[in-house]
Amino acid sequence: MTFLNFFISGISLGSIYAIIALGYTMVYGISKMLNFAHGDVIMVGAYICFYAVVRYGLNPFLAVAVAMVLCSVLGIIVEGLAYKPLRQAPSLAVLITAIGMSYFLQNTALLLWSSNPKVFPSVVGRGAFHMFNGNLSVSHITALTIIVCLVIMVALSLFVSKTKMGKAMRACSEDKGAAQLMGINVNATISMTFAIGSGLAAIAGALLCSAYPTLMPTTGSLPGIKAFTAAVFGGIGSIPGAFLGGLMLGVIEIFAKAYISSQLSDAVVFGVLIVVLLVKPAGLLGKMTQEKV
């Protein structure tokens, strides 16, 4: 039963990684950039939730909605100010700008909200479901996280494959020039992608801080890197890949903590990543691109 318990908490942590990784992977798919500031959008989303609930007494679910909207706006602003002027620039310049943006968000948070850790109130309280005569207990937040992740995954897949905007996104990630010739507004599509990614980051922030309730300006950076790893793990640019990568990374991390060593769990996670990339150089579900000469 302990195995099952670990497995469920792994899936739950993995769901959070998956939600963050979806943001990474969508942005990468469309603009081929590693958005290192994504992890800090999680933190901003969590702070907005925190203040909405604690100071303004909002319903937690309403607070998450507010955080989603504000983070989406933040995503659009960040993209417009920092990344849009660099569309034609070399990818390293964009990477450094993204890192600068990450520092900017962290330090703004530090000034606005101080470095004192805040105790985040759980979105659904601290209760748990007990099963099998109490041998297996699943906290409400764990269950909620898994459900939310599944819902997001299904909704996002439908959005990308069925709607006009989703098709535009896929077209832009294939070939921006051709997409523009077909009458797609490339700038608006990229902004929309950032908005969706940042909105998802806000949800991830609320879930992450409900499960691990310390909120600091640096809260987002490590989960950000892990989720980025998850996105690469599953094949960056692929939405099902991000989902699978996130879940697997969460499970591996929890198992490594439980059965190998809690201090070396990060090393195990990254070690598995390296092995996977050696066997499948484009990630689990990534497609290998043939180079034409």
Binding site: I99, Y103, T229
Partner: protein
Amino acid sequence: MTMRRLINLKRAEARRIYLTYAIVIAAYIICQVMSSTKFLSSSMRGMLVPICAYMVMAVSLNLVVGILGELSLGHAGFMSVGAFSGVATAILLQGFIPFAPVRLAIAMIVAAVFAAFAGFVIGIPVLRLKGDYLAIVTLAFGEIIKSILNNFYLGVDSQGLHFSMLSDTTRLLPGGKLIIRGPMGISGIQKIATFPAGFILLMIALMIVFNLVNSRSGRAFMAIRDDRIAAESIGLDITKYKMMAFVMSAALAGSAGALFAMNYSTIVANKFDFNTSILILVFVVLGGQGNMLGGIIAAAVLTILPEKLRSFSEYRMLLYAIVLIVMMLATNNAEIKEFLSRLNPFRHKEEA
């Protein structure tokens, strides 16, 4: 050898190399004079060695990022391998070699060897990958090195060296000494790193890199960077050249790490995390990829800048971030680029 090579170079390239040496030497002399005439504040004096170490790191990473054209996000990992092996060596040699500069030199050489070995082992899997995947794997290795060093214990007693992982099970004999203490790192380091040593290391690094870049191998690196497929089709052994650049870069980073560590009394693995790797990458990108002098200047400016901004206290990292973003936006703006290239004195000669 060096002379012949430089004579064979295009004049603009040779001039750029001599200019780099000249500026580094001039900067060293100015700093020495300022520091002996008490013109330099003590906080600035304390930063001279770290600045040298960061400059060597910038040169070393520039070899991978600028010349070879592969993005590495885990360079601090090699720095920490060098720091730990170098400091451990220096501590072990304390009784045998009383003369500090020799001990420092040996420690830096040992550090370079260990880091080069780490670079070789990591290079085998890493260099099979491409682009962003290669970058993420270097990031992963940087984190793995940090985790391992955080859980590594090394002790010495009359029976020799003992090491263990996770917890201290070295079981040292009485009179033995634990050198590396896992997450607490190494403490009680004798601060034997000096500014002249840093300067010499920087000059050696520059000589190695310039000679390498302007050799057959260096031209191969650049051919691989500019067009991998074309380079492969004319028979260049891509893996060999990539490995050569990677190992050389790791070795330089290792000795820089040893220099850096021996400027402090305590060193922990967490000092060399992802943020440090990024910091060094920022030096390289701001200085211009492949431009050694640019990287060196960026390293100096970006190390001093946060100190100088200290009067703004809590706003300083915010300002740093803004400077970073604005710099990237400005250097990639077509109009500003045009304006800057008009200021560059070498432009017409290179075109001619």
